[in-house]
Symmetry: C2
Subunit: 244 residues, 2 copies
Protein backbone atom coordinates (compact mmCIF):
# COMPACT_ATOMS: atom_id res chain seq x y z
CA UNK A 1 0.00 0.00 0.00
CA UNK A 2 1.38 3.39 -1.00
CA UNK A 3 0.22 6.79 0.15
CA UNK A 4 0.23 9.31 -2.70
CA UNK A 5 -0.11 13.08 -2.47
CA UNK A 6 -1.28 15.20 -5.40
CA UNK A 7 -1.22 18.97 -5.79
CA UNK A 8 -3.96 20.07 -8.17
CA UNK A 9 -5.31 23.34 -9.58
CA UNK A 10 -8.78 23.97 -10.92
CA UNK A 11 -11.03 26.68 -12.23
CA UNK A 12 -14.21 25.95 -10.31
CA UNK A 13 -16.67 27.70 -12.66
CA UNK A 14 -17.99 24.46 -14.18
CA UNK A 15 -18.09 22.41 -10.95
CA UNK A 16 -20.37 22.02 -7.97
CA UNK A 17 -17.38 22.30 -5.70
CA UNK A 18 -14.97 19.61 -4.57
CA UNK A 19 -17.15 17.12 -2.69
CA UNK A 20 -18.92 14.27 -4.51
CA UNK A 21 -22.69 14.73 -4.62
CA UNK A 22 -25.36 12.85 -6.56
CA UNK A 23 -26.32 14.08 -10.04
CA UNK A 24 -23.86 16.98 -10.33
CA UNK A 25 -20.31 17.27 -11.60
CA UNK A 26 -17.72 17.87 -8.88
CA UNK A 27 -13.94 18.06 -9.00
CA UNK A 28 -13.60 15.03 -6.73
CA UNK A 29 -15.81 12.94 -9.05
CA UNK A 30 -13.83 13.90 -12.15
CA UNK A 31 -10.53 13.19 -10.41
CA UNK A 32 -11.74 9.82 -9.02
CA UNK A 33 -13.00 8.75 -12.46
CA UNK A 34 -9.67 9.71 -14.02
CA UNK A 35 -7.69 7.85 -11.34
CA UNK A 36 -9.87 4.75 -11.72
CA UNK A 37 -9.12 4.63 -15.45
CA UNK A 38 -5.37 4.80 -14.81
CA UNK A 39 -4.86 2.63 -11.72
CA UNK A 40 -7.93 0.42 -12.13
CA UNK A 41 -9.09 1.06 -8.60
CA UNK A 42 -11.61 3.43 -6.94
CA UNK A 43 -9.62 5.00 -4.13
CA UNK A 44 -10.73 7.08 -1.16
CA UNK A 45 -9.65 10.69 -1.78
CA UNK A 46 -8.89 13.05 1.05
CA UNK A 47 -8.59 16.78 0.27
CA UNK A 48 -7.16 19.71 2.22
CA UNK A 49 -10.37 21.73 1.73
CA UNK A 50 -13.91 21.10 0.52
CA UNK A 51 -14.17 24.07 -1.80
CA UNK A 52 -17.74 25.22 -2.53
CA UNK A 53 -19.47 25.37 -5.88
CA UNK A 54 -17.69 27.77 -8.25
CA UNK A 55 -14.65 28.26 -5.99
CA UNK A 56 -11.20 27.90 -7.57
CA UNK A 57 -7.98 26.32 -6.30
CA UNK A 58 -4.36 27.13 -7.11
CA UNK A 59 -3.14 24.59 -4.57
CA UNK A 60 -5.54 21.87 -3.53
CA UNK A 61 -3.70 19.01 -1.80
CA UNK A 62 -5.21 15.56 -2.18
CA UNK A 63 -4.07 12.19 -0.81
CA UNK A 64 -5.06 8.55 -1.29
CA UNK A 65 -3.78 5.07 -0.52
CA UNK A 66 -3.37 2.61 -3.37
CA UNK A 67 -1.95 -0.80 -4.24
CA UNK A 68 -0.92 0.56 -7.66
CA UNK A 69 2.81 0.70 -8.37
CA UNK A 70 2.53 3.56 -10.85
CA UNK A 71 5.35 6.09 -10.49
CA UNK A 72 4.28 9.60 -9.43
CA UNK A 73 5.72 11.32 -12.55
CA UNK A 74 3.87 8.90 -14.80
CA UNK A 75 0.64 9.40 -12.84
CA UNK A 76 0.85 13.19 -13.39
CA UNK A 77 1.23 12.78 -17.16
CA UNK A 78 -1.51 10.16 -17.40
CA UNK A 79 -3.97 12.21 -15.35
CA UNK A 80 -3.28 15.44 -17.23
CA UNK A 81 -3.89 13.54 -20.46
CA UNK A 82 -7.35 12.49 -19.22
CA UNK A 83 -8.57 15.44 -17.17
CA UNK A 84 -10.54 18.33 -18.67
CA UNK A 85 -8.68 21.61 -19.34
CA UNK A 86 -9.94 23.28 -16.17
CA UNK A 87 -8.37 20.73 -13.79
CA UNK A 88 -4.62 20.09 -13.77
CA UNK A 89 -2.26 17.99 -11.65
CA UNK A 90 0.82 20.05 -10.77
CA UNK A 91 2.70 17.26 -9.03
CA UNK A 92 2.45 13.87 -7.38
CA UNK A 93 4.69 12.33 -4.74
CA UNK A 94 4.84 9.49 -2.23
CA UNK A 95 4.19 10.56 1.35
CA UNK A 96 4.43 8.91 4.78
CA UNK A 97 1.62 6.52 5.75
CA UNK A 98 0.47 8.92 8.44
CA UNK A 99 -0.16 11.79 6.01
CA UNK A 100 -3.78 12.68 5.26
CA UNK A 101 -4.41 15.76 3.08
CA UNK A 102 -7.39 16.79 5.20
CA UNK A 103 -6.51 15.81 8.76
CA UNK A 104 -2.80 16.66 8.59
CA UNK A 105 -3.45 20.24 7.41
CA UNK A 106 -2.71 22.84 10.10
CA UNK A 107 -4.05 25.84 8.19
CA UNK A 108 -5.36 26.93 4.81
CA UNK A 109 -5.00 30.23 2.97
CA UNK A 110 -7.63 31.65 0.63
CA UNK A 111 -7.65 34.75 -1.55
CA UNK A 112 -10.76 36.78 -2.32
CA UNK A 113 -10.38 39.06 -5.38
CA UNK A 114 -12.46 42.18 -6.00
CA UNK A 115 -12.17 44.24 -9.19
CA UNK A 116 -12.84 47.87 -8.30
CA UNK A 117 -12.92 50.32 -11.21
CA UNK A 118 -15.45 51.94 -13.52
CA UNK A 119 -15.69 49.06 -16.02
CA UNK A 120 -15.67 45.27 -15.61
CA UNK A 121 -13.00 43.05 -17.15
CA UNK A 122 -13.86 40.50 -19.85
CA UNK A 123 -10.60 38.69 -19.03
CA UNK A 124 -11.10 38.25 -15.30
CA UNK A 125 -14.85 37.81 -15.07
CA UNK A 126 -14.62 34.22 -13.84
CA UNK A 127 -12.05 35.02 -11.13
CA UNK A 128 -13.19 38.15 -9.34
CA UNK A 129 -16.18 40.06 -8.00
CA UNK A 130 -16.68 43.41 -9.73
CA UNK A 131 -17.79 46.60 -7.96
CA UNK A 132 -17.68 50.08 -9.50
CA UNK A 133 -18.47 52.18 -6.39
CA UNK A 134 -15.60 53.87 -4.52
CA UNK A 135 -13.92 51.63 -1.92
CA UNK A 136 -11.71 52.85 0.93
CA UNK A 137 -9.03 50.14 1.11
CA UNK A 138 -7.39 51.68 4.19
CA UNK A 139 -10.65 51.35 6.13
CA UNK A 140 -10.84 47.70 5.02
CA UNK A 141 -7.29 47.14 6.30
CA UNK A 142 -8.27 48.65 9.64
CA UNK A 143 -11.34 46.42 9.83
CA UNK A 144 -9.28 43.34 8.92
CA UNK A 145 -7.30 43.68 12.16
CA UNK A 146 -10.37 42.78 14.25
CA UNK A 147 -10.57 39.31 12.68
CA UNK A 148 -7.06 38.30 13.72
CA UNK A 149 -6.78 35.77 16.53
CA UNK A 150 -9.22 33.25 17.98
CA UNK A 151 -12.94 34.11 17.79
CA UNK A 152 -16.38 32.57 17.67
CA UNK A 153 -17.26 33.07 13.97
CA UNK A 154 -20.98 32.25 14.22
CA UNK A 155 -21.83 35.66 12.67
CA UNK A 156 -19.70 34.70 9.67
CA UNK A 157 -21.17 31.27 8.98
CA UNK A 158 -23.91 30.37 6.52
CA UNK A 159 -27.25 29.54 8.18
CA UNK A 160 -27.25 26.10 6.61
CA UNK A 161 -23.72 25.19 7.59
CA UNK A 162 -23.83 25.17 11.44
CA UNK A 163 -21.07 23.14 13.05
CA UNK A 164 -20.53 22.00 16.61
CA UNK A 165 -17.64 24.32 17.21
CA UNK A 166 -17.72 27.78 15.57
CA UNK A 167 -14.38 28.90 17.02
CA UNK A 168 -11.56 29.45 14.53
CA UNK A 169 -8.15 31.13 14.64
CA UNK A 170 -7.33 33.65 11.89
CA UNK A 171 -3.54 33.75 11.55
CA UNK A 172 -3.32 36.32 8.75
CA UNK A 173 -5.64 38.72 6.95
CA UNK A 174 -3.78 40.93 4.49
CA UNK A 175 -5.47 43.31 2.10
CA UNK A 176 -3.71 44.94 -0.80
CA UNK A 177 -4.73 46.89 -3.83
CA UNK A 178 -3.00 46.84 -7.21
CA UNK A 179 -3.98 47.65 -10.80
CA UNK A 180 -7.68 47.96 -9.93
CA UNK A 181 -7.84 44.74 -7.92
CA UNK A 182 -8.37 44.49 -4.16
CA UNK A 183 -7.09 41.16 -2.81
CA UNK A 184 -7.89 39.72 0.63
CA UNK A 185 -5.49 36.98 1.74
CA UNK A 186 -6.82 35.11 4.76
CA UNK A 187 -5.21 32.19 6.59
CA UNK A 188 -6.85 30.22 9.41
CA UNK A 189 -6.73 26.80 11.05
CA UNK A 190 -10.12 26.15 9.50
CA UNK A 191 -13.10 27.92 7.99
CA UNK A 192 -16.85 27.71 8.60
CA UNK A 193 -19.25 27.45 5.64
CA UNK A 194 -19.00 30.62 3.48
CA UNK A 195 -16.79 32.22 6.16
CA UNK A 196 -14.28 33.81 3.75
CA UNK A 197 -17.03 35.16 1.51
CA UNK A 198 -18.93 36.67 4.46
CA UNK A 199 -15.74 38.16 5.94
CA UNK A 200 -14.98 39.67 2.50
CA UNK A 201 -18.56 40.98 2.19
CA UNK A 202 -18.37 42.57 5.64
CA UNK A 203 -15.00 44.19 4.90
CA UNK A 204 -16.42 45.50 1.62
CA UNK A 205 -19.26 47.06 3.66
CA UNK A 206 -16.48 48.78 5.66
CA UNK A 207 -14.77 49.86 2.43
CA UNK A 208 -17.93 51.48 1.07
CA UNK A 209 -18.64 53.22 4.37
CA UNK A 210 -21.78 51.27 5.25
CA UNK A 211 -20.27 50.25 8.60
CA UNK A 212 -17.18 51.34 10.55
CA UNK A 213 -14.04 49.21 10.98
CA UNK A 214 -14.68 48.99 14.75
CA UNK A 215 -18.18 47.58 14.15
CA UNK A 216 -16.57 44.24 13.33
CA UNK A 217 -15.78 43.69 17.00
CA UNK A 218 -19.50 43.98 17.83
CA UNK A 219 -20.54 41.77 14.91
CA UNK A 220 -18.21 39.01 16.14
CA UNK A 221 -19.61 39.31 19.66
CA UNK A 222 -23.22 39.22 18.46
CA UNK A 223 -22.99 35.65 17.09
CA UNK A 224 -25.79 36.43 14.60
CA UNK A 225 -25.43 35.91 10.86
CA UNK A 226 -27.71 38.85 9.97
CA UNK A 227 -25.34 41.31 11.69
CA UNK A 228 -22.52 40.61 9.21
CA UNK A 229 -22.31 41.69 5.57
CA UNK A 230 -23.38 39.79 2.45
CA UNK A 231 -21.89 36.51 1.18
CA UNK A 232 -19.84 37.57 -1.86
CA UNK A 233 -20.04 35.37 -5.00
CA UNK A 234 -17.96 32.19 -5.12
CA UNK A 235 -16.14 33.16 -8.33
CA UNK A 236 -13.89 35.63 -6.43
CA UNK A 237 -12.61 32.92 -4.07
CA UNK A 238 -9.52 30.78 -4.54
CA UNK A 239 -7.73 28.27 -2.29
CA UNK A 240 -4.09 29.42 -2.45
CA UNK A 241 -1.98 27.42 0.03
CA UNK A 242 -2.20 24.65 2.59
CA UNK A 243 0.17 24.44 5.55
CA UNK A 244 1.13 21.08 7.09
Amino acid sequence: MRNIKLVIQYEGTAYHGWQIQPEVITVQKVLLDGLAKIIGERVKLSASARTDSGVHARCQVVSFKTDSLILPGRLVRALNGLLPDDIVVVKASYCPDSFNARYSARSREYRYSILNRSFRSPFDLRHCYFVSYPVDVDAMKEGAGFFLGTHDFTSFESHFGKRDNPVRTVEKLNIFSRAGFIRLDIRANGFLTYMVRIVAGTLLDVGRGKILPGDIREILKARERQRAGPTLPSKGLCLMKVFY
Copy 2:
Protein backbone atom coordinates in the same frame (compact mmCIF):
# COMPACT_ATOMS: atom_id res chain seq x y z
CA MET B 1 -24.19 64.44 -37.08
CA ARG B 2 -21.67 63.48 -34.41
CA ASN B 3 -18.69 61.22 -34.77
CA ILE B 4 -18.24 58.97 -31.73
CA LYS B 5 -15.23 56.87 -30.82
CA LEU B 6 -15.47 53.87 -28.48
CA VAL B 7 -12.68 51.88 -26.89
CA ILE B 8 -13.84 48.34 -26.18
CA GLN B 9 -12.40 45.14 -24.72
CA TYR B 10 -13.60 41.61 -25.35
CA GLU B 11 -12.78 38.03 -24.64
CA GLY B 12 -13.19 36.52 -28.10
CA THR B 13 -13.75 32.89 -27.03
CA ALA B 14 -17.51 32.96 -27.68
CA TYR B 15 -17.39 35.01 -30.91
CA HIS B 16 -16.73 34.39 -34.58
CA GLY B 17 -14.45 37.40 -34.61
CA TRP B 18 -15.29 41.05 -35.07
CA GLN B 19 -16.85 41.21 -38.53
CA ILE B 20 -20.58 40.65 -39.06
CA GLN B 21 -21.32 37.38 -40.88
CA PRO B 22 -24.60 35.58 -41.48
CA GLU B 23 -25.80 33.02 -38.89
CA VAL B 24 -22.98 33.39 -36.36
CA ILE B 25 -22.46 35.65 -33.37
CA THR B 26 -19.78 38.30 -33.84
CA VAL B 27 -18.65 41.16 -31.63
CA GLN B 28 -19.73 43.74 -34.23
CA LYS B 29 -23.25 42.27 -34.34
CA VAL B 30 -23.64 42.30 -30.55
CA LEU B 31 -22.35 45.87 -30.35
CA LEU B 32 -24.58 47.08 -33.20
CA ASP B 33 -27.65 45.46 -31.62
CA GLY B 34 -26.83 47.10 -28.28
CA LEU B 35 -26.29 50.52 -29.88
CA ALA B 36 -29.55 50.22 -31.83
CA LYS B 37 -31.48 49.64 -28.60
CA ILE B 38 -29.95 52.72 -27.00
CA ILE B 39 -29.85 55.28 -29.82
CA GLY B 40 -32.67 53.82 -31.92
CA GLU B 41 -30.55 53.76 -35.04
CA ARG B 42 -28.48 51.14 -36.89
CA VAL B 43 -25.16 52.88 -37.43
CA LYS B 44 -22.20 51.95 -39.61
CA LEU B 45 -19.38 50.75 -37.34
CA SER B 46 -15.75 51.12 -38.31
CA ALA B 47 -13.13 49.19 -36.27
CA SER B 48 -9.36 49.49 -36.00
CA ALA B 49 -8.92 45.76 -36.71
CA ARG B 50 -11.05 42.85 -37.89
CA THR B 51 -10.03 40.35 -35.25
CA ASP B 52 -10.51 36.70 -36.26
CA SER B 53 -12.70 34.11 -34.57
CA GLY B 54 -11.59 33.52 -30.97
CA VAL B 55 -9.13 36.45 -30.89
CA HIS B 56 -9.32 38.84 -27.91
CA ALA B 57 -9.00 42.62 -27.67
CA ARG B 58 -7.80 44.80 -24.82
CA CYS B 59 -8.08 47.92 -26.95
CA GLN B 60 -10.33 47.75 -29.99
CA VAL B 61 -11.16 51.23 -31.28
CA VAL B 62 -14.51 51.66 -32.97
CA SER B 63 -16.12 54.75 -34.54
CA PHE B 64 -19.53 55.63 -35.93
CA LYS B 65 -21.53 58.67 -37.01
CA THR B 66 -24.90 59.29 -35.43
CA ASP B 67 -27.70 61.85 -35.14
CA SER B 68 -28.20 60.84 -31.50
CA LEU B 69 -27.44 63.48 -28.88
CA ILE B 70 -26.60 60.96 -26.17
CA LEU B 71 -23.61 62.03 -24.05
CA PRO B 72 -20.56 59.75 -24.26
CA GLY B 73 -20.49 58.97 -20.51
CA ARG B 74 -24.15 57.98 -20.59
CA LEU B 75 -23.58 55.82 -23.70
CA VAL B 76 -20.82 53.88 -21.87
CA ARG B 77 -23.09 53.11 -18.90
CA ALA B 78 -26.05 52.20 -21.09
CA LEU B 79 -23.99 49.90 -23.32
CA ASN B 80 -22.27 48.17 -20.41
CA GLY B 81 -25.70 47.55 -18.90
CA LEU B 82 -26.81 45.76 -22.08
CA LEU B 83 -23.69 43.99 -23.33
CA PRO B 84 -22.75 40.45 -22.26
CA ASP B 85 -20.01 40.06 -19.63
CA ASP B 86 -17.32 39.28 -22.19
CA ILE B 87 -17.60 42.62 -24.03
CA VAL B 88 -17.07 45.92 -22.22
CA VAL B 89 -16.91 49.57 -23.29
CA VAL B 90 -13.97 51.25 -21.58
CA LYS B 91 -14.71 54.75 -22.85
CA ALA B 92 -16.56 56.84 -25.39
CA SER B 93 -15.71 60.29 -26.72
CA TYR B 94 -16.57 62.70 -29.52
CA CYS B 95 -13.95 62.83 -32.25
CA PRO B 96 -13.33 65.04 -35.32
CA ASP B 97 -15.47 64.34 -38.39
CA SER B 98 -12.42 63.14 -40.30
CA PHE B 99 -11.65 60.34 -37.80
CA ASN B 100 -12.35 56.77 -38.88
CA ALA B 101 -11.27 53.98 -36.52
CA ARG B 102 -10.13 51.80 -39.42
CA TYR B 103 -8.72 54.20 -41.99
CA SER B 104 -7.13 56.65 -39.56
CA ALA B 105 -5.11 53.92 -37.81
CA ARG B 106 -1.39 54.09 -38.58
CA SER B 107 -0.42 50.87 -36.84
CA ARG B 108 -1.74 48.12 -34.57
CA GLU B 109 -0.05 46.13 -31.86
CA TYR B 110 -0.91 42.52 -31.01
CA ARG B 111 0.35 40.20 -28.29
CA TYR B 112 0.70 36.45 -28.71
CA SER B 113 0.93 34.56 -25.37
CA ILE B 114 2.50 31.13 -24.98
CA LEU B 115 2.48 29.24 -21.67
CA ASN B 116 5.66 27.16 -21.49
CA ARG B 117 5.99 24.87 -18.47
CA SER B 118 5.33 21.26 -17.54
CA PHE B 119 1.61 21.67 -16.73
CA ARG B 120 -1.17 23.75 -18.30
CA SER B 121 -3.03 26.49 -16.42
CA PRO B 122 -6.76 26.19 -15.67
CA PHE B 123 -6.85 29.97 -15.15
CA ASP B 124 -5.30 31.06 -18.44
CA LEU B 125 -6.55 28.37 -20.79
CA ARG B 126 -8.66 30.80 -22.83
CA HIS B 127 -5.85 33.33 -23.25
CA CYS B 128 -2.71 31.44 -24.17
CA TYR B 129 -1.28 28.56 -26.17
CA PHE B 130 0.27 25.89 -23.99
CA VAL B 131 3.45 23.99 -24.87
CA SER B 132 5.42 21.80 -22.46
CA TYR B 133 8.53 21.15 -24.56
CA PRO B 134 11.71 23.20 -23.88
CA VAL B 135 11.79 26.54 -25.72
CA ASP B 136 14.92 28.65 -26.28
CA VAL B 137 13.61 32.20 -25.88
CA ASP B 138 16.96 33.77 -26.84
CA ALA B 139 16.85 32.00 -30.21
CA MET B 140 13.31 33.33 -30.69
CA LYS B 141 14.53 36.86 -29.95
CA GLU B 142 17.28 36.45 -32.53
CA GLY B 143 14.76 35.20 -35.09
CA ALA B 144 12.39 38.08 -34.32
CA GLY B 145 14.96 40.59 -35.62
CA PHE B 146 14.55 39.32 -39.18
CA PHE B 147 10.90 40.38 -39.27
CA LEU B 148 11.64 44.03 -38.50
CA GLY B 149 11.22 46.48 -41.35
CA THR B 150 9.35 46.30 -44.65
CA HIS B 151 8.90 42.87 -46.23
CA ASP B 152 6.67 40.87 -48.53
CA PHE B 153 4.82 38.67 -46.01
CA THR B 154 3.27 36.21 -48.50
CA SER B 155 4.89 33.29 -46.61
CA PHE B 156 3.09 34.45 -43.48
CA GLU B 157 -0.40 34.79 -44.91
CA SER B 158 -3.22 32.25 -44.80
CA HIS B 159 -3.89 30.57 -48.17
CA PHE B 160 -7.47 31.80 -48.13
CA GLY B 161 -6.66 35.41 -47.27
CA LYS B 162 -4.64 36.63 -50.29
CA ARG B 163 -4.62 40.40 -50.71
CA ASP B 164 -3.44 42.60 -53.55
CA ASN B 165 -0.46 43.90 -51.64
CA PRO B 166 1.37 41.53 -49.27
CA VAL B 167 3.96 44.12 -48.19
CA ARG B 168 3.83 45.23 -44.56
CA THR B 169 6.15 47.10 -42.22
CA VAL B 170 6.87 45.55 -38.82
CA GLU B 171 7.82 48.39 -36.46
CA LYS B 172 8.39 46.32 -33.34
CA LEU B 173 8.68 42.66 -32.39
CA ASN B 174 9.60 42.18 -28.74
CA ILE B 175 9.73 38.83 -27.02
CA PHE B 176 9.93 38.43 -23.29
CA SER B 177 9.54 35.60 -20.86
CA ARG B 178 8.15 35.86 -17.33
CA ALA B 179 6.54 33.45 -14.83
CA GLY B 180 6.25 30.66 -17.40
CA PHE B 181 4.76 32.84 -20.14
CA ILE B 182 6.46 33.81 -23.39
CA ARG B 183 4.91 36.98 -24.85
CA LEU B 184 5.40 38.23 -28.42
CA ASP B 185 4.49 41.90 -28.90
CA ILE B 186 4.29 42.81 -32.57
CA ARG B 187 3.42 46.18 -34.09
CA ALA B 188 2.95 46.84 -37.81
CA ASN B 189 1.17 49.22 -40.15
CA GLY B 190 -1.14 46.34 -41.03
CA PHE B 191 -1.38 42.56 -40.89
CA LEU B 192 -2.25 39.91 -43.48
CA THR B 193 -4.72 37.13 -42.59
CA TYR B 194 -3.31 35.01 -39.71
CA MET B 195 0.02 36.84 -40.03
CA VAL B 196 0.67 37.22 -36.29
CA ARG B 197 -0.24 33.60 -35.59
CA ILE B 198 2.03 32.31 -38.39
CA VAL B 199 4.90 34.59 -37.29
CA ALA B 200 4.43 33.27 -33.72
CA GLY B 201 4.32 29.66 -34.99
CA THR B 202 7.50 30.16 -36.99
CA LEU B 203 9.31 31.76 -34.04
CA LEU B 204 8.18 28.88 -31.85
CA ASP B 205 9.75 26.52 -34.43
CA VAL B 206 12.95 28.50 -33.88
CA GLY B 207 12.54 28.24 -30.11
CA ARG B 208 12.18 24.45 -30.23
CA GLY B 209 15.17 24.11 -32.57
CA LYS B 210 13.24 22.91 -35.62
CA ILE B 211 14.68 25.76 -37.70
CA LEU B 212 17.45 28.31 -37.15
CA PRO B 213 16.86 32.03 -36.50
CA GLY B 214 18.56 32.90 -39.81
CA ASP B 215 16.16 30.64 -41.74
CA ILE B 216 13.50 33.33 -41.35
CA ARG B 217 15.30 35.48 -43.93
CA GLU B 218 14.94 32.65 -46.47
CA ILE B 219 11.32 31.97 -45.55
CA LEU B 220 10.43 35.63 -46.15
CA LYS B 221 12.21 35.56 -49.52
CA ALA B 222 10.49 32.33 -50.61
CA ARG B 223 6.98 33.86 -50.63
CA GLU B 224 5.48 30.40 -49.99
CA ARG B 225 3.13 29.70 -47.08
CA GLN B 226 4.35 26.11 -46.66
CA ARG B 227 7.89 27.31 -45.86
CA ALA B 228 6.76 29.07 -42.66
CA GLY B 229 5.69 27.47 -39.37
CA PRO B 230 2.18 26.53 -38.21
CA THR B 231 -0.68 28.94 -37.53
CA LEU B 232 -0.94 28.99 -33.73
CA PRO B 233 -4.44 28.90 -32.16
CA SER B 234 -6.46 32.13 -32.02
CA LYS B 235 -6.94 31.99 -28.23
CA GLY B 236 -3.33 33.16 -27.64
CA LEU B 237 -3.83 36.34 -29.67
CA CYS B 238 -4.93 39.73 -28.35
CA LEU B 239 -5.21 43.19 -29.96
CA MET B 240 -3.38 45.43 -27.48
CA LYS B 241 -3.02 48.95 -28.92
CA VAL B 242 -3.90 51.05 -31.93
CA PHE B 243 -1.79 54.03 -32.98
CA TYR B 244 -3.35 57.02 -34.77
